[in-house]
Symmetry: C2
Subunit: 282 residues, 2 copies
């Protein structure tokens, strides 16, 4: 099977893919939309992209592209712990007090805010497209006193030294990745259990109706269906117009979830169940 | 009065500040947290920072820093239309078909996705810290065939030419800015009407209780209080733990909003009303 992931190599998404899809071909794509396009166009069988971090919140590109641009089916969820380290070229390690620029993904810089504020208050922080790209950039300029924030895998891949480890602020720092498949695809994903434990709804409000969200939640609440997440995202039609993405703690069934969908649709909501799946927590 | 804003000069925040606080001193700060610290520490009287864009959604740094790090009072809201243009140095305009790198803030690059995909599919896109920083960077390298996406004010300030105007994808593209003041500060902000039309709540769930959000919304719904926004953000204590930021379409009163707060607190929620204010829409 071919698996697209948000590259370059040695990103956290790559770590998630390598841990689960041990015997498949992994192909790096340069952005989340391109990953998702590749599975929609049949270049690959599955795509793995980040959807939420426990500190930074949702990866809005993933949610927005899925809802507005490229409908795909969620067939699995992978959760991995995120550990960030400060990396330098071997020859520069003795100058770690005098780092001129620290490169990383903006989320990683934010996750390490406290460490950076305490140790590198006056050092320039430069956001780049991924933690892995930051490590690559540092490895390509061994004569410069610069550093990257990235994972251990990136340190190994680019031959960098870990100058400070586990520099992220929250000890509970995890990222959720979703596994996406083309609607109607018959590829079997045996990696995930058949007993689905979660389902994801995308719900659009009929108009800017007062109490509409309350109505939506009532449909879940009286059935005692637990929500593990609710997130509003802009409809892109104006401030104040949102759609909601809701994760429920049960898989698709024949009665309850179809009941929610039918009722809300009758009330004028647009309701899509974008996936029913199980979770692999590493 | 001294007003802190998210700089550098010529950002959209600067445009918002200049439009409203016409006769005050405006001081640029390099990041949203630093803006907010400056008002908390009394260096300035007010701070203006972005909180939401109609296309990209919330500015999570603002919400998270306000809730987790630096409590301040919201005393006003400014809404401005966002118009993005492609800018080049005058001497490079004839080479606009061969641009090598386009710099901008990551949100602006996302807002112009369709234009970029159609016209500059193979051009390298490079996120930098602000649209204004992108314009400055391009102006400093007039010999390079590079471009920035930024506003008209930045084009004027850095002497760049507009090569393509209004390249943002959604014609309805607005950003909301909030005006923040230190709790207990006596500075009068005469710029905003006394008739408050909005209030903002921050609500934390007592535990991961099923139906808790439904309960919160019920407290607003039966009083027929309209919500203009609800957003979940991570508590940073683990995937699945959120707080909610809720905007209601009424100002603080003596009965209804205190009633919501008291009831929810009795039920074990933590409830903070972080502001009651009016809006200036430009």
């Amino acid at each position: 099977m071919k698996i697209a992931y948000l590259g370059p190599e040695a990103t956290f998404t790559h770590v998630a893919v390598q841990s689960v899809f041990t015997s498949d071909e992994h192909i790096a794509y340069s952005s989340i939309p391109v990953c998702m396009d590749s599975v929609a166009e049949g270049e690959v069988d599955l795509a793995v992209v980040p959807i939420e971090n426990s500190v930074e919140g949702s990866v809005t590109t993933t949610i927005d592209y899925l809802v507005h641009e490229q409908p795909l089916k969620m067939v699995g969820e992978i959760i991995i712990p995120i550990r960030q380290h400060l990396l330098m070229s071997k020859g520069q390690v003795h100058r770690s007090k005098d780092i001129e620029v620290i490169y990383s993904h903006s989320h990683a810089l934010a996750q390490c805010h406290t460490f950076l504020h305490n140790q590198y208050k006056y050092t320039k922080l430069e956001p780049v497209s991924s933690t892995s790209a930051a490590a690559k950039l540092v490895s390509e300029q061994p004569q410069e006193c610069i550093a990257a924030i990235a994972n251990e895998f990136a340190a190994k891949k680019y031959g960098l030294e870990i100058v400070a480890s586990d520099i992220h602020s929250n000890s509970y720092n995890h990222t959720r990745f979703i596994v996406l498949q083309k609607e109607g695809s018959s590829v079997e994903t045996n990696y995930f259990q058949k007993n689905h434990t979660k389902a994801t709804f995308v719900i659009m409000m009929p108009e800017n109706r007062a109490g509409a969200l309350h109505q939506v939640l009532s449909a879940f609440a009286w059935r005692q269906i637990d929500l593990s997440k609710i997130e509003s995202r802009p409809m892109k039609t104006g401030l104040g117009n949102y759609f909601f993405i809701i994760d429920v703690v049960m898989g698709y069934d024949d009665v309850l979830l179809p009941g929610v969908k039918q009722e809300l649709e009758s009330l004028g909501f647009s309701v899509e169940i974008v996936g029913s799946y199980s979770t692999i927590q590493l």
